[in-house]
């Protein structure tokens, strides 16, 4: 019974994280700063394709600018739990302004804080 409860909680967490991942990608393309404001931890850090690492404030400023492409979607999403952390590994595809297809990969780390999953780290590459 306890195990069933645990499995049920894990399934619920998985559903929540799938939703967070979908919205993370949607919000990147739509420059939805509000979504990130609500779902990034105060100590969030993002490592970007240019080798920079930025904190929450700088990341929000970057998100506010128009996304350099369209039709952004995550592919091959893998979500796993490591204690109180959840790791999301995924690829992504998008259409560049010149019409060519582009791709990349990211790892997002979420932590459960006060009962909510908040993103604490992101690392992405674009090719």
């Amino acid at each position: 019974m306890h195990e069933a409860t645990h499995d049920g909680a894990r399934a619920k967490d998985l559903e929540i994280l799938e939703g967070l991942n979908r919205n993370y990608v949607r919000s990147a393309e739509q420059s939805d700063v509000r979504w990130y404001t609500e779902n990034l931890a105060e100590d969030f850090l993002a490592s970007s394709v240019d080798g920079s690492i930025v904190d929450r404030t700088a990341f929000l400023a970057r998100i506010a600018r128009p996304y350099p492409g369209s039709n952004l979607k995550a592919v091959a999403v893998r979500i796993r739990f490591c204690g109180e952390l959840a790791l999301i590994h995924a690829g992504f595809e998008y259409r560049k302004p010149d019409g060519q297809m582009g791709s990349g990969r990211y790892t997002d780390v979420y932590a459960r804080r006060q009962g909510r999953w908040l993103c604490v780290a992101a690392h992405f590459n674009r090719f």
Partner: protein, 130 residues
């Protein structure tokens, strides 16, 4: 040159912090020297690595990838930030190295470690190469 960038970032120095700093140095040294044994001892069974070329590899494939001589020279790390979140830790760092053509280059990585049965093991790596 390794820098304790955690100081001044609001992350307190603890015994775990020291252990993770050593593990981070070991990770970089072992990439540089193709030390498969070190990775075999310190990677979790479910380790996944996102490579700079966009591939995602599991533990066994990563160990095979480490075995040949490191394709870059003078690999070093700087701007290391260690964040301990309970029984998990995230390490952010910047790498510097020399490409085979002699050009200086830099990259970045994010590693995730978790405490399992009293030991820190690496569960995830993500690498960007500039």
């Amino acid at each position: 040159m390794m820098q304790d960038a955690a100081r001044g970032q609001g992350y307190p120095a603890t015994a775990d912090h020291g252990v993770l700093q050593e593990l981070n140095q070991g990770f970089i040294r072992s990439v540089r020297t193709s030390d498969v044994g070190w990775f075999d001892r310190n990677l979790a069974e479910d380790f996944l690595n996102s490579n700079a070329d966009g591939t995602l590899v599991e533990r066994a494939a990563f160990l095979r990838q480490i075995a040949p001589p490191c394709p870059v020279a003078n690999l070093d790390v700087e701007d290391v930030r260690i964040r301990i979140l309970g029984d998990a830790a995230i390490i952010h760092g910047r790498t510097t190295y020399t490409r085979p053509d002699g050009q200086a280059a830099a990259g970045r990585y994010t590693d995730v470690w978790v405490r399992q049965r009293g030991r820190w093991v690496c569960v995830s790596g993500d690498v960007t190469r500039g």
